[in-house]
């Protein structure tokens, strides 16, 4: 194990920010105690005590990102019916997005880091083997994750229901443990090892502190089979979702929800930017089709999709549950909805006779 004193942490972040964008949790001023992962700049305080209101997923899935820029330039175009769609006599010039700079995520929790591992299954696969998302992949590959191990947890935490809980190492490069006067640091990847070789980290014989054990729901893996049998039981979904007011916080605060919208933002009729932004399956517009038909016409349909995607479709397609038990959707829900009540109800519910 290595050790870094609390006083040296700003120095570490300063050194890291020379070559990387550094993300760290910070309580925002005038925000009623909201803690978010923000780009760290010299002098910024960090908050390693409170749990952040939103996850750290911005680091790999920005709220809004440029996919490319476009401009119609005079000359060379073949007209709309041929090829590139530019008006006759004009040419469509595409300006690719700049590659993401290397980044360091400092102070993520095990549930945040594991979420990256879960998302990798979809977005970050070897070329040619399965789908990979170039933008996600370039961010992910240049990201160093320094995870703060949880020695305490709260009532919304339920990561112990998934695999290794608070001692989960997937997705992390370094795990840091809070101890008297600073942090113990343990490398879990070669990238982490290289960073811990820096002289700012001292050798230490100290043993890491015991980690928190969160509440647990047994049998979540059974939902992959169970949920499809509840699919048509609209009374169940109706009852489960009736407290919900249909905002998108549970998905936007979630470390694993990745749904997005692709939209063009025009600066003029000649130029603009194609962007990708967070979108949420809890919004009606998300599935609204051009014809006017909406395959998920009610809140109950949308809620059903959210639960099924996390606990049935994604496990079926990617082999991993799309939830890490971070509890943010529970802490932040304005209507007091607790996803664990829904999961327990789904586990207990016998499919009704048709």
């Amino acid at each position: 194990m290595k050790f870094i004193s609390s006083d040296a942490i700003p120095e570490l972040l300063e050194a890291l920010s020379a070559s990387s964008v550094v993300w760290a949790p910070r309580e925002l001023t005038g925000s009623g105690g909201t803690v978010m992962f923000e780009r760290w700049r010299t002098g910024d305080p960090i908050d390693l005590e409170h749990f952040s209101s939103l996850s750290a997923k911005d680091v790999v899935l920005p709220r809004t990102e440029k996919l490319f820029g476009y401009t119609y330039a005079f000359g060379g175009g073949l007209g709309g019916a041929f090829g590139n769609g530019a008006p006759a006599g004009e040419q469509l010039v595409i300006e690719p997005a700049e590659p993401a700079p290397p980044a360091v995520l400092f102070g993520a929790r095990a549930c945040d880091a594991k979420a990256l591992d879960v998302l990798d299954a979809l977005f970050n696969n070897p070329e040619g083997e399965a789908y990979n998302d170039p933008q996600y992949q370039s961010r992910r590959k240049s990201l160093t994750v320094i995870t703060l191990a949880c020695t305490t947890c709260d009532e919304a935490c339920f990561c112990s229901s998934f695999g290794n809980g608070t001692s989960e190492k997937a997705g992390s490069d370094i795990i840091v443990y809070p101890v008297e006067g600073g942090l113990l640091a343990e490398a879990v990847s070669s990238r982490g090892e290289a960073l811990l070789a820096e002289p700012i980290f001292e050798e230490s014989e100290q043993a890491p502190p015991p980690l928190a054990e969160t509440a647990r729901i047994e049998g979540l893996e059974r939902l992959e089979e169970k949920l499809p049998r509840l699919f048509d039981d609209m009374d169940f979904w109706q009852e489960i979702s009736e407290r919900c007011t249909s905002c998108g916080f549970c998905t936007y605060g979630c470390p694993t929800c990745y749904c997005f919208n692709i939209h063009d933002e025009m600066r003029s009729d000649r130029e603009g930017e194609r962007q990708r932004s967070w979108d949420a399956c809890m919004f009606a517009l998300y599935t609204q089709e051009t014809s006017g038909h909406n395959p998920r016409p009610t809140l109950a349909h949308r809620y059903r999709n959210r639960i099924n995607h996390k606990f049935s479709y994604y496990p079926e397609n990617q082999g991993k549950i799309l939830c890490t038990g971070c509890g943010r959707c529970i802490r932040g829900c304005p209507a007091g909805l607790d996803i664990r009540d829904v999961l327990r109800a789904a586990l207990e519910e016998a499919p009704r006779e048709p």
Partner: protein
């Protein structure tokens, strides 16, 4: 059996559904609950953690008879919904409750951990057994409540913020809001928690044709979105504070609302949600009517 439970059971006989609260939230706080039977209704509670404005559900239930437990500020939303003919007075049965000052549960939990046990005997407030400053954890809207003037008003952090805001010039206000909106994630929790935002799935903020607002999540779009929302609530906001309570990133949205409500009151002598027979000023085209300050 409490009076509330028997009231709910009585109304259930007429409506078959009552919106209220039960102590089913984390740490034993209140969570919104729907009661269908007398037996279910036995779980009903009302205390200082019943923060939600349940009137938000009424426009969705407008085709059926429904009972609703309502605080004074929630009742104003119900009145305004009736004034706008969004709900039918005959179908809604209101069970009015006298509220204590409501607690800011979100802030308590941000400071003391989610699910920390809250004990409130009406005088002393304890969190996890430890005595805490009540005023620091009281809902801002209660500190300025016109229905129930409060003793702890001087301690309000929120009023301080409001006063600071009053002395800012336009440029300073712009900077203030830009910073606040820079953390908006456009989750629309403010809109969905608002009883008066009943356009729901056809909201101007999310229509694709015409495309009124951009799709990006950034301070500029968030500012545009909030300005539209505030304007659409002119003369309609009942100051229940749900937008601000629902905001997961702590944007003080009620500062905008209070400012506008004040302007509406000065211009039209109108407070939303007070008289079900009243015509909301911006829903009329009576340009020569009273209240325009014209002779």
């Amino acid at each position: 059996m409490s009076e509330l439970v028997s009231d709910i059971q009585k109304i259930l006989g007429e409506t078959g559904l009552v919106l209220g609260w039960a102590a089913t939230g984390a740490g034993g706080v209140a969570a919104p609950e729907r009661f269908h039977t007398a037996e279910e209704a036995e779980a009903a509670i009302f205390d200082s953690t019943c923060v939600h404005n349940l009137a938000v559900h009424l426009p969705r239930l407008k085709a059926r008879a429904v009972g609703i437990v309502a605080k004074a500020c929630d009742a104003r939303s119900i009145v305004e919904l009736i004034a706008e003919h969004e709900i039918d007075r005959e179908l809604v049965k209101v069970i009015a409750v006298t509220c204590p000052e409501m607690l800011d549960v979100k802030t308590i939990w941000r400071r003391h951990g989610y699910g920390a046990v809250i004990e409130d005997d009406g005088g002393e407030l304890r969190v996890n057994g430890e005595l805490v400053d009540r005023a620091a954890y009281t809902q801002a809207k209660c500190l300025g409540c016109e229905e129930r003037p409060s003793a702890s008003i001087s301690a309000s952090v929120r009023l301080q913020l409001s006063e600071d805001f009053q002395i800012m010039n336009v440029e300073e206000r712009r900077t203030f809001w830009r910073e606040q909106f820079s953390r908006c994630i456009r989750c629309h929790a403010c809109r969905e928690a608002c009883p008066m935002c009943y356009c729901r799935d056809v909201c101007i903020m999310q229509t694709s044709d015409p495309h009124w607002t951009g799709g990006g999540i950034n301070a500029g779009e968030a500012e545009m979105m909030q300005m539209i929302r505030v304007n659409h609530l002119a003369g309609r906001c009942t100051a229940c504070g749900e937008c601000e309570r629902a905001c997961p990133v702590g944007i003080p949205l009620m500062l905008l609302m209070e400012e506008q409500n004040r302007a509406i009151y000065e211009m039209f002598d109108y407070r939303a949600g007070v008289d079900p027979e009243a015509k909301p000023p911006l829903l009329t085209f009576d340009i020569k009517g009273d209240g325009w300050g014209e002779e």
